[in-house]
Symmetry: C2
Subunit: 226 residues, 2 copies
Amino acid sequence: MKKAVVLLSGGIDSYTVAAIARKDGFILYALSFDYNQRHKYEIQAARRIAESLSVKQHIVSQLGFLRDIGGSALTSSIPVPENRSDMSDIPVTYVPARNILFLSYAVAWAEVLGACDIFIGVNAIDYSGYPDCRPEFIAAYQQAVNVGTKAGVNGQFFCIRTPLIGMTKREIILAGRAVGCDYSLSISCYQADSHGLACGACDSCLIRMKGFQDAGVPDPTQYRIR
Amino acid sequence: MKKAVVLLSGGIDSYTVAAIARKDGFILYALSFDYNQRHKYEIQAARRIAESLSVKQHIVSQLGFLRDIGGSALTSSIPVPENRSDMSDIPVTYVPARNILFLSYAVAWAEVLGACDIFIGVNAIDYSGYPDCRPEFIAAYQQAVNVGTKAGVNGQFFCIRTPLIGMTKREIILAGRAVGCDYSLSISCYQADSHGLACGACDSCLIRMKGFQDAGVPDPTQYRIR
């Protein structure tokens, strides 16, 4: 059985990716981040998910730097936009270089573990328009880490696996259920409170709600306004 | 005046790069890391250098993750090789994905600051053979961050500046002295003690010593064995 590092945020996408990786026979090493994000509750969700998937190891790494530098609604006092109808621009919830940082941690760990596979739940269909979720970024980043690591230059090719990148949220939810995901363990809301109640109005809630609706699957999320 | 983020380790190369950037008129934002490295004394050197260059801000970020995962002589109990005569292979002092991580922090900060320029003192001539110090990695990484950030896709092109990449250590030292570097502030040793005394035997000490010798410049380093 091969090892894989899986980035686990606590949301639907990373949960689904981790469950798919496990189904594919990988031994999972899950990696989450505490960057004092507004939706810090997601770390609890990530812990629940990691446990439910029997991951070999789960590291929740401190990344307070992202809060220190700010620049995002998720890491500063900038309000989270609610009930946006047009999601075509990159919103203020974009966190500078977040996936670049997360993937860099994952590559470092994978190199030490001797793992070639890194799973990330990026999706470029039903998403917030973040540039670090697009296939062109993933391809360029994979190229960079394969020339910038000892493992890479020694022929241990790192593969950044993004099984959800071309799927709709509906397809993701159906794929996740097919591999046993219990989405009541997950949280997507950008401003979930300390009890795990979702706002029902941020981009992430809107995309999640529509996903369950389109999939014809009951939404297990607990919302605080409805 | 334009802002630049400068990765500052406390050694000769990053000091020289920072001094060159300052001479070129940049407002400096210096970034160092505490990853419980064996040569933690270098952080003190970085602080002295940052102060001497009147940087606008100096962040020393915690990156204990690198120690947690280990895999290097600089972050675990693996001994640092001494008096190596053949430096053609990648040694055990290689830290997995270190520059990938450091640059990712720098890009995140640069994006928030609205800075396009990131300076890093990598050098592919008199160096330890680390793959993340080579021009092909820098080029690939720069490509990745320009497609993976909001700033990048909006046309704020990030440039990873590596003015030393093709220089010998002799040339670096002469260039640094020309812009006022006082190398007694710096430390290169991989196993410097808490007083800042260098071992004189690790790769980094050997390369540094030869550099001063070749440059015909007195070596200000204080060694504990000699």
